[in-house]
Structures are given as structure tokens and as C-alpha cells.
Amino acid sequence: MENVVCTFCGSVCDDVQFDTQQYKGKKFCALGMSKFSAKERIKSPMIDGKAVSYEEAIDAAVDILVNSKKPLLYGWASTVNEAIRVGVILTEKLGGIYDQCSSVCHGPGVLSTIEEGLPGGTLGQVKNRADVVVFWGSNPMEAHPRHPTRYSVTAKGFFVKDRKERKVIVVDVRKTKSARLADEFIQIKPGYDYAIFSALRMLVKGEEIEAEEVGGVSVSKLAELAETMKNAKYGAILYGLGITQSRGRDRNIENAVKLIQLLNRYTRWIIWPMRGHYNVVGAGEVPAWEVGYQYAIDFSRGYPRFSPAEFAVSEALLRRDCDAALIVASDPVAHLPKKAVEHLKSIPVIQIDPFPNMTTLISKVVIPAAITGIEAEGTAYRMDGIPLRVKKVVDSEYWSDEKILHEMLKRVEVRMGFS
């Protein structure tokens, strides 16, 4: 099969091939290759570890959800928009909390967009035009292995035809694999991205800085960077978790956006996050059009409210502000801070996922799902928002996320008197 769409990372490569007979991929990176390979599955729906039918598991799940005062519905980044949409409506009807993986990934980027916007562009713009690319706190070589060749480093485009015509800079606190790929690596002190962006804004405007160094980098070095940025014809900052998960979080990005706003007064620059999961963008876009917000949404009053400080998954758990959880296509037990997991362990958890993981170990109801992109189709948004239809390439007995959630929604509407 040609033109298969990879459902691992936010690069969503749509030029890969998959041999359904041998269950093996071609042209994939190491991450995609592992995604498109046979591995252990959850064998059947389970309640308290005992195998049951889909219908029984869904009934048990619905029981938990309608009896809870405020369920948390979390995950979503590794499934398709069609399933996410049902999930948002389900949360709305249940008066629960909808949150998705961004809240431990690029959620701060949403907060910065609220403050300052997001001057951006698609990855094709980077490929075709960017003569300066700055990876800031991002490490594509390990997180998005084909990103550099397809879009951002060696990619050949309409105006920038060659790697030699593009300057690649990595800014990070450690010398990552991506740093070795760059023309220049600028090592900074952890926690000082914000101050460095402030310094670059000063330097771009031609203001003098009294200090000799900022965030572990000499001001003369920063002045050089500012000059490179001003002299670019079309530049791009592609940022990663290095600035969203460290000191400053959203404020780092906000300050970076202000730098980009300023640079656009001299030349053209864009900034864009290096989103992780293949459809984490959809997990934010779908609720945005359905209910107005991207993540951390509480429906307990019958209408959506947005507040990451309270309703992001970590906060909802730390504040004990949910008394049941439905986890879809995610593994919060493996990816949340220990203390947040403690509360999750104390409430009834329902899991929908193709693969057993750490959350399976604490779940009361486990519902196995078809693997999206292999056994189920649907729409996903690449990290830059480009929509792509992921494909079903093999048949499976497993139900899709969309079908499972739709069955849940139907029952919830009946139980809550909405139908």
C-alpha cells in the first residue's frame, strides 16, 4: 500500500508504504516503523480484569460515568477527529472535564496564543522559503525524525533549493542529537529562555543591554543571533517542550511570539510549535469549534469553561476535582506526575486503547480499540494544521474509538434524559 499516512508523531508523513501481508512498513522512520508493526494487544473488553463483551463493557462504563459527579475525559491526541467530536459531546452531556494531551505538552502555546496570537505558517512554507530555521528547545531527531528531511533542514523547496541556502540553529540547554545537525548550537542556562527572548527583542530594536551575558550566553553572541534573524529573508522558530515544560512555560512562548512580531517589522518570520502526537492538533481544534476552547474545559455548569489552572488533567487530579475518568488513546499513568496519578488510582477509570499500558493496570473497565491509521480511518491534523485522512489498511474485529464512544453517547443520552 502506497501513500499510507503515519499515525505516530505530529509530522504525519503521508508518503510511507505498508505491506499488509508482511505487516511491515517502508520509508518510515524508527518511530513510525514501530507504530506500524505487530505488538501485544488488549485481547478483549474487560471489567475488573475479566473478559466481557463490548456491550457489557460499554454499559459498565456508562454506569460509572452517569453516576459520577464530575468525570474527567482525557487523552484524544492519538485518535481521529470523528472520535474526538463524539468525545467532546459526550463530555458536554456528562457535565465533565474534557482535557487532552496538550496540557502536558504544548498547552502553554495556547495560553500564549491567547495573549499575543501566533504568527505562523505551514511546514511547506519552511520547506519552500525558510533560509533561517531555529529549533528552540526542540529535538526533531528524536521526536520527529523525518521532520528535518521532509520540511525543515535538508528539505528542498521552491525558493530555498538546497541545504546550503538554509542556516539551521539549535538553541537548547543540552547538546541534543538535533544540535549536531545544526550550523550553530547555542547552549543556554536552563530556565532563562524568557530572559533571552527579552534580550533578543532589545537587540533587534538596536537597544543596548547593560549586562554582559543573559541566560548563560554572552550578549555579543546574542547580538550575532539577532543580526542573523534580521537578515533572514524568511525565518522560522520551531519550538518544543524545552520551553513549554520548563520555567516560564507559556511566558517563554509569549515572549518568543513578541520577538516574531517585532522581526516582522524588518523581514518575515514565523513561529510554530513542534507538536507531538499525530493528532494532538485535532484534539484541540475539534473542541474549539464544538465548544470554543482547545483543552482544560469544564462542563459542570452545563456550558464550557476554560481554565488550565483548574481543569488541565494534572490540576483536575491534584485538586481531586473528578470522581471518575475515561481515558481514550493515552496513558496518563505513565505520563503524569506521580501525585496526580495517586488520585487517578483512587477513582474508577475506564480505558479505551488498542494496547495494554500502565493505565490498563489501574482501570476498572478496559475497552480495546482498533488501531487508528491501520485498522480504522478518520481525519487527523498535522502539527501545522494541515488536515489529512488517515487510512484503514487492514480489517479488524476491534471496534473503532468512534464507534465505542458513539455507543457510549447514545446510552448516556438515554440515561440522562436527553433523548
Binding site: 524568557y194 530572559a195 532589545m202 549586562a211 543573559v214 520555567r247 481554565s307 483548574e310 485538586r319 473528578c322
Partner: protein, 234 residues
Amino acid sequence: MMVLKPKTDFAVTVEAEITPELATMSVEEASKFKVYHGREQVSLGELFEITKEGDDKKLVLEGDFSRVKWIGARMEDGEIIVKGSIGAHCGAYMKGGRIEIEGDADDWLGAEMSGGEIVVKGNARNLVGCAYYGDMKGMSGGRILIEGNAGNYIGEKMAGGEIEIKGDAGDFIGTEMTNGVIIIHRSCGFAGGDMKGGEIRIGGEFDLLPSFKKGDEGYVGDINVGGKGVIRQI
């Protein structure tokens, strides 16, 4: 005066937008006041024991209110005494009156308040006197005193009034503030990013941004926005 005590440990957080106005009602009337416990809308009397002593506009909260949100939101006068700790959004949009918290305060204390006074004997968490998501202006008047420490994002987009913290504060103090005063007696992280006006007084150490210049009064900035804010060491 009206006294409220939680009857149980709540399953999830409770949202109770009560103000001293409640104390002017009879116990029976007050019991009927609607609050949220998760998606369930319940009456105040279901969750709290309510007693009344005299007619003054004063609310006393006894027991654990650390998971009760929006207490004193939009209040205009009267007094609230919290014997323990209080949940998020306490005194948000407050216009007048007084709130005293003997324990700790959660996030969004006095967010967008325009008048009145809040005193916290313990610590406060984040977003004290801040603007809500997407709003242009944080606290614009009144006074917040925190005798312990405070968290991050204090007085963001502050446009007036005063916040005083006797202990340490976290990161990003007075970001984008335009007016008002923030006093931190001990240390904090970054202060005054993109501030246009107002004053931040700091007793201990802090992270000075490269976009401030030393003047006679202290550090002036943020130069990136042509700001005339002042950060002064006390």
C-alpha cells in the same frame, strides 16, 4: 453574622458564589442558595451547616473550604472571615468589603478585583490579582496583603491597587502591569516583564531582565515596550 461549616468531605470541588449578602438572609433562605457540586446543582444547606448570629453583613467560614471556589466573588461590601484555607477565585472581581483568610488561599485570589481588601495570614498560590484568560486588565484597585509566600504570576496586567507579600513570591511578577504597586518583602523570580507602568518593590533577590535600565529610582522598564515601570530594591 452567618457561620458556614462543611457537612462532609466533598467528592469534587464545590463552587459557591456567596458574598456577605448571604448573611442578610434568614437561615432558611440562605440554605436554598444554589451551589455546584460537580454537575449537580444543590442547595447550600445540603453541603453546609448554617447558623446565624445577629444581622451584620459578615460571613464566617469554619472548617475546610480549600476546595470551595468563588467565595466572595463580585462582593461589594461586608466581611468574610475564613477560619481555615480557601479555594480558588476567592474575591475575584471584588468591588468592596473585606476578606480575611486565616489559612492559605488558592489560585486566582482577587483576580480582576477593583476595590476592597483581602488579607491572607498563610500563603497564596498563583495568579493573585491577575486578569482572566483573554482579558486586558487585571486587578485595578483595592489591596491584597499576603503574610506568607505567594506563587507565580502575581499582579499580571495589574492596572491599579496594591499587592503586598511578606514572604517570597514565585516567577513572573507584575508582567505587563500598567499601574499599581506590588511589594515583595523577600525574594522572587523574573519581575516586570513588559511592564508599562506601576512599581514593584522587592526586599530580597530577584531575576533582573535585560530589558531594564538602572536609574536613580531603581530599574526602569520594560524598554521593549517603552515602559516606565520601576523595580525598586527595598
